[in-house]
């Protein structure tokens, strides 16, 4: 047993750390440090910097543009990226649809889509959830009917993150209305500019527009846009959601946020002393740091397991990463809110309806409101507990 990184791993860490230090555009870094959102253009620029370096899809197999790094290196890379801080590559492309395409897609699809995902030439969005189908995703109703070599798609998706920017959508559609729940679903991708696609933005409680309703009204999609086999979409969706969970601990990001808390709490005053000197506040912060340390090690255990056993099925213990990771991220936004106190109150709408005038306090309350999402999406924390109860505890 040895919890330290090897010399080679440490050298690798220094290499990526230096790269991030030298290459993240300063304005992007500043916005992230202050807890602001990055815009589409910023993410495109950053992804292209990464892609030029060969790191935009680091975790993909080498033949599709990946790096061939070990799971430990992948872990170090993500951790350093988040803690730099640098924007995370668009998950819908690189972590979700990309792996589904290179695992289940045909050669033509791999050629057509994968390089464009790596370079963020296509902005992808995820069309899974529907108004009647959230946690119970398999109850989805959007249909795709085959007619004259095309799928005709009708229905509605919702909570579709950043669909307003999207060029492409990957969608779960019911192709066999007779089959029982899970078995009649297919995984279909198509152009968001197709005729019959309507996007309606939804404003979230932080004031931003992060999610949308997406309506499909007789949208015609070529049959070659089916990924894998017809009616096997549920298997691909499960594969995709399993991949989503391993990245969800976001330890590096939480470390970076704690640095921000410490920085603000050392300057924001309560009377004659900074907030960080308040024993009650400091204890809450320290307790969070300890939980995060434990989570970091738990994550390393999951990674080490993956190194040993290969990346087969997702480890059910990774549900811990989701539950604790989101819990810590939310606590951190609470602590930031507490540091800011009454200065968090002014609400002025800015770009995209977001409350982001250029002062340090303005992103704090929206960040807190926005982060209630992390225990809802990606399989809600209650669903994660169901998974543990079933897969680990055998209940």
């Amino acid at each position: 047993m040895d919890l330290s990184f090897t010399k080679e791993e440490l050298a690798f860490r220094d290499e990526v750390r230096t790269f991030f230090k030298d290459n993240v555009p300063p304005e992007t870094r500043r916005r992230l440090q202050e807890g602001r959102h990055t815009g589409k253009q910023e993410l495109v620029e950053w992804t292209r910097i990464l892609n030029k370096k060969g790191w935009a899809v680091a975790h993909w197999p080498k033949e599709y543009g990946g790096t061939g790094w070990t799971p430990v290196q992948q872990y170090i890379f993500l951790e350093e990226l988040q803690s730099a801080p640098a924007p995370s590559p668009l998950a819908f492309g690189v972590s979700m649809v990309g792996p589904v395409i290179y695992t289940f897609g045909n050669e033509a699809q791999k050629k057509k889509y994968l390089p464009r995902i790596a370079n963020l030439d296509d902005w992808w969005c995820q069309g899974f959830s529907e108004p009647g189908s959230g946690s119970d995703l398999a109850s989805l109703k959007t249909t795709a009917k085959k007619k004259d070599g095309k799928y005709i798609i009708n229905g509605q998706k919702t909570w579709t993150t950043l669909a307003q920017h999207a060029d492409m959508i990957f969608c779960l559609c019911r192709t066999d209305p007779e089959a029982k729940k899970q078995s009649g679903i297919s995984f279909i991708v198509f152009d968001m500019k197709s005729k019959g696609v309507t996007v309606r933005p939804i404003q979230t409680i932080d004031g931003g527009v992060e999610v949308n309703e997406v309506f499909f009204d007789d949208v015609e999609v070529p049959v070659e846009n089916l990924i894998g086999e017809e009616n096997k979409g549920w298997d691909y969706a499960k594969f995709l959601l399993g991949n989503e969970r391993t990245n969800i601990a976001r330890v590096g990001m939480s470390k970076e946020r704690i640095r921000r808390i410490k920085q603000l709490a050392s300057t924001v005053m309560a009377g004659d002393q900074p907030i960080i000197k308040d024993a009650r506040f400091l204890e809450k912060l320290t307790a969070t740091e300890i939980e995060l340390k434990a989570l970091e090690l738990t994550q390393m255990r999951v990674v080490a397991n993956e190194s040993k056993n290969g990346k087969g099925k997702p480890d059910p213990a990774s549900s811990i990463l989701k539950i604790k990771g989101s819990d810590i991220q939310q606590t951190i936004t609470e602590l930031l809110l507490e540091v800011t106190g009454p200065f968090a109150m002014p609400y002025e709408t800015g770009e995209e309806g977001r409350n982001e005038p250029d002062n340090w306090a303005s992103p704090i309350a929206p960040g807190y409101f926005n982060y209630r999402k992390v225990s809802i999406y990606g399989g809600s924390n209650e669903i994660q507990r169901n998974i543990i109860a079933k897969a680990v505890l055998g209940l």
């Binding site: 047993m1 995060l292 109860a389 055998g394």
Partner: protein
């Protein structure tokens, strides 16, 4: 980065688990607790035969030269079985003083007896008002000729009523809470002026309050520097905290297992209560608490090898916070999910809860260690 056990460590784990599975079920434990001294001498001899008592000592000293991971393996197993024997007091604490600070002669005088199981030790440290501050020592050791005269009172000395030799912290210089001027002395428990009042503890183990009145010991009694033993004391106590973290992980693991087994079998409303989602989620949260604690126990175990006291203390303190919090949650929920039977002495689950509760406050509770981590600036800086 590697969380695997080596081949030798795996064999050790198998043999300890095997030994305890054969001879340490809950009914046997009840019998052992009723023996004179509150534990089984026969078990202790078996531990010696299997080499467990010599594990951390160097081969030169007659031991096996094993590391922190081996101790963790043994302590986890002992936590799972709720072992009563004085392993912590004798091997980790008493033995730890000799291992980290003992002279050649002191080692020769004491280690063979520890390793072959014929002698036990105990650590007399806690005072009436010292609470968790290791530097708060008002027991005195005054120079007399070449030797020392010890006066003072020590409380809740783990296994103090059966130990052959006590390691006593005493002030040789300075004020009550000064960090310097503290010594650690080897005192035979039958020395003139030593009064031992033994009693059972809440978790069915034993402890003693011990009074020292004009107790005379020779120059060879002092372990290390009699005027500056605090770093040694901190070192040994950190080892004990690390061992307790592992023991707690073992006890939590068994608590969760037993509880999940119980709710799968217990029927109410015509179904197994384990089918109720509210209990399933409680189980999931217990699992999360256990695994977070296990991660920190690993961190602490690895920190055991760090000589830099500050760095080591940060990891050990953080681990003790996590273990304290997890232990409380897992312990309380294990009782809750058992319903009425969880409240009884007859059922083993209550005994796990009681042991976990005692571990929480041994050598610093979660609040104490949280303050230490905060004072050290936490893990994330710059």
């Amino acid at each position: 980065m590697d969380f695997d056990l080596s081949e030798e460590q795996r064999l050790l784990k198998e043999s300890v688990d095997g030994l305890l599975a054969d001879s340490y079920d809950f009914e046997s434990r009840k019998k052992y607790a009723k023996e004179a001294g509150g534990y089984s001498k026969a078990q202790w001899s078996k531990f010696a035969e299997q080499g467990l008592l010599g594990l951390p000592f160097s081969e030169e000293d007659g031991g096996f030269g094993s590391g922190a991971v081996e101790t963790m393996i043994v302590m986890e197993a002992m936590g799972r079985a709720l072992v009563l024997e004085p392993y912590l007091a004798t091997v980790i604490l008493g033995g730890g003083f000799l291992r980290h600070g003992g002279s050649k002669d002191q080692k020769a005088a004491h280690l063979p007896g520890i390793i072959d199981g014929s002698k036990t030790l105990a650590f007399a440290q806690l005072e009436k008002n010292s609470r968790y501050d290791l530097a708060d020592v008002s027991t005195t050791a005054k120079k007399k000729g070449a030797g020392w005269v010890i006066d003072g009172e020590k409380f809740v000395v783990l296994h103090g009523d059966t130990a052959d030799t006590l390691v006593v912290t005493a002030r040789t210089k300075g004020g009550q809470r000064d960090k310097t001027g503290i010594g650690a002395f080897l005192v035979p428990s039958n020395a003139k002026g030593v009064t031992v009042k033994g009693y059972p503890t809440q978790d069915s183990l034993r402890a003693a309050d011990i009074t020292f009145t004009n107790v005379e010991v020779g120059a060879e009694a002092a372990i290390g520097d009699p005027e500056n033993a605090l770093p040694l004391i901190e070192r040994v106590v950190d080892d004990a905290r690390i061992a307790l973290c592992a023991e707690a992980v073992g006890a939590m693991e068994e608590s969760l297992k037993t509880t999940m087994q119980y709710i799968k079998e217990r029927k109410q409303f015509g179904v197994a209560i384990g089918t109720f989602q509210v209990l399933q989620h409680r189980g999931a949260d217990m699992f999360v608490a256990l695994e977070q604690a296990r991660s920190m126990s690993y961190l602490a175990t690895m920190a055991g090898g760090i000589d830099n006291a500050k760095e080591r203390a940060l990891s050990v303190a953080a681990a003790k916070v996590q273990i304290g919090r997890s232990a409380r949650y897992v312990g309380q929920q294990a009782i809750q999910l058992h319903g009425g039977v969880g409240m009884t002495m007859e059922f083993k689950i209550g005994h796990y809860f009681k042991r976990l509760t005692m571990i929480e406050s041994l050598f610093g509770d979660a609040d104490f260690h949280l303050r230490r981590v905060a004072d050290a600036g936490g893990f994330i800086n710059g």
